[in-house]
Symmetry: none
Subunit: 419 residues, 2 copies
């Protein structure tokens, strides 16, 4: 079974937004072992959308289109698909009811316009939208299927996960017996080129599974991808390669797949019944933001104090004025006092700190932009690391947050080992 | 002149990387007034690449392809283009010399493989690569032009800026003297459908400039796009439409283009010489993160205290235990006490607060997930707003941060009006 992706939206052709929807869907389809050979992008224009749909239907079994399902005049996907497939648009009662009920709940006006979204091609199956008002649909005619989803990423993802991906998995299962399974190993404390050099022979000699490095802004990932008749067989191919990579890269492999540092930290704190407080400076709140992206983080995170000014460092964390005066806000001594101070002020089991120079100004020859100290404190004492991070302000913030979380993660791992 | 973008690379179809190259090129071409009607993505496969090229050449004057120019077996773009255009591949001497010289300098091995990259279609003009070893090329046959660039973003961008975009500007200039200029108005405190209804007649009646809504996760934007012989003429077309939209939507239009709330807030605080302290709960640090993404924010941001636990709210912000007990942590009273408390504790001119229920658990019939209070305090008193936000945990955090920043922005605007 071949699926073609079709992204609809003039904003994509103007480069105003990056097409993350297509990357997300491509990844999910590849995990299901479904071949995607082509992806097209077209603007909000009836003729060109019809032309692109015609090409897609000529070479794929399923066209998965995102975008152009909203309430505005620009939203032409449903009408164009209906026209091309030779069926009229009709109002789906369930979808219309849902829109009415959402409109009532949220006090939305302009019900007529919103109700336009309930009009789907006759014979189509509605894909419910658990997040917003625009439903998608699945329409099959003459052995070809068109699936539509809205372009808003949160809506698209929810609908893909709930309805479309299971549907496609089922459809593919009837025809194609190969699945592709990927496992992503997440690394910290090691650069991409070093990680790659350490496993170069594996990368070169392996064809199933394949191994490929994936560079992200603030971490290095290795992707192991296997193709096999079923999921269990693919996992059996991956397991020995994963074990060999972990043997070589050791503790640098901190997690896999969606195991972010903040999730692993949360798991360890929760299971130990311990609490955490953080003191941030250059990261500006990013550590707290990441920690609180984990549902249930209120069980262990007491506070994350972004003490941007020196006075705030003294007032809330008890960093001695003399330390700030003598060593500066970006120093090993200040990072240590912040970690110990926030732990004490919050009565937390662990204190985490970061202080650094994110730029673009504020660097000196002695303390250049990117110089960052991360610290951790617990009942057993405190520890500070110096990092020299590269990149622009945003990248330095991201890398500093990652360095701090990785330090805390290692401390939690050691403590668990000792206990 | 029509340009079609063609991204080559199986990794794009597997969703392993997001296609930022295409967004970059689309934006640059739109700035030059060059129409991009379609974008295709295809894997590293000779037949499918040839099929995609054939379609692209049938509907565009210029095909701009990225990817597939490296030294490996998978890199098939040059050979496929040559084959389709009916010319042989030949080694370009200049490109070969440059590869030899880079290989010597950097101690690269596998010179034979690298030299493959110097083979370009006969009659093509080489596009030099100032960053890496893979050159691109421009090949024109029978009135159609194919341009190739490598997929590595840093190399692609350098070559586009140095050679390809000036070449296309020149080519377009011969046929078409129009430029496209866009202006994005950023809105807060109004939904997309309401904003659109208020300017529906403008959207419907305008063809140059055009007006289109752009929905983002936590804000609504309107894009005004004009086409004219030069930039000044395009801006002159945009100005009266922008004025009319601002007249109708009033204060909901808070900024334009890259004027984020955090930037505008920073500008106002800096010019007034005022300081800010924030107290966050459900946003977990996102407000501090956004505020500190603005370079120079240390001049006015004293602290952002993520007081996740009740104890932290009492200890650092002085929220009375009785308030928390009587009204709960998510209440108007607590939001007010947080804004006033953080202002006082930090000695700031402005205090900003947010407290809410981000989910996925913790909601009750009385206080459902998404219920959020944002507060602002200054010397003139305090003000709290209630919001009922939709979405998953991440979206609620983003919308709560936006609601808080918008409240602060309005307060700053009022104060400036009073002064």
């Amino acid at each position: 079974m071949r699926v073609e992706l079709l992204s609809v939206g003039t904003e994509l052709l103007l480069g105003e937004i990056v097409d993350t929807n297509a990357a997300y869907l491509a990844e999910k389809l590849s995990e299901l072992g479904i071949n995607v050979y082509y992806k097209q992008t077209v603007g909000d224009n009836v003729e060109r959308l019809a032309a692109a749909l015609r090409i897609a239907l000529s070479r794929a079994d399923v066209v998965l289109a995102t975008g152009g399902l909203g309430p505005t005049e620009d939203d032409i996907t449903a009408a164009t698909v209906a026209d091309l497939m030779g069926v009229p648009l009709v109002e789906d009662e369930g979808a219309a009811d849902r829109i009415r009920s959402i409109a009532r709940q949220r006090g939305l006006r302009l019900l007529d316009r919103l109700l336009k979204q309930a009009r789907v091609p006759q014979g189509a199956v509605v894909v419910p939208n658990p997040v917003g008002t625009a439903p998608g649909f699945i329409l099959t005619r003459d052995g070809k299927t068109v699936i539509t989803l809205p372009g808003v990423p949160a809506e698209m993802r929810a609908m893909a996960e709930q309805t479309v991906l299971p549907y496609l998995a089922e459809l593919a299962g009837r025809e194609d017996t190969a699945v592709i399974v990927s496992r992503v190993l997440r690394l910290a404390g090691i650069g991409e080129s070093q990680a790659e050099a350490d496993i170069r022979d594996l990368i070169d000699s392996q064809t199933n599974p394949t191994i490929a490095p994936l560079a992200k802004t603030y971490e290095v990932c290795l992707r192991i991808t296997a193709r096999a008749p079923d999921r269990a067989a693919a996992q059996a191919l991956i397991a020995p390669i994963e074990a060999e990579i972990r043997r070589r890269l050791g503790e640098h492999v901190y997690g896999a797949d969606d195991e972010s540092l903040e999730r692993l930290i949360g798991d360890r704190l929760r299971s130990a019944g311990h609490t955490l407080a953080a003191a941030e400076s250059c990261t500006g709140g990013l550590i707290g933001h990441r920690l609180t992206n984990v549902p249930g983080s209120s069980a262990y995170l007491l506070a994350s104090l972004v003490t941007y000014s020196n006075q705030a460092k003294t007032r809330f964390l008890g960093v001695p004025e003399a330390t700030l005066r003598e060593y500066g806000a970006v120093s090993e001594q200040t990072a240590r006092a912040m970690a110990e101070g926030v732990r004490q002020a919050c009565g937390a089991d662990y204190g985490l700190s970061v202080t650094g120079i994110a730029g673009p100004t504020g660097g000196t020859p002695e303390k250049p932009i990117g110089l960052t100290y991360v610290g951790v404190a617990d009942a057993g004492g405190s520890q500070v690391e110096e990092h020299r991070l590269r990149g622009d302000r945003q990248s330095i913030k991201e890398r500093a947050a990652q360095a701090a979380l990785y330090l805390l993660y290692r401390r939690l791992r050691e403590r668990a080992g000792v206990a």
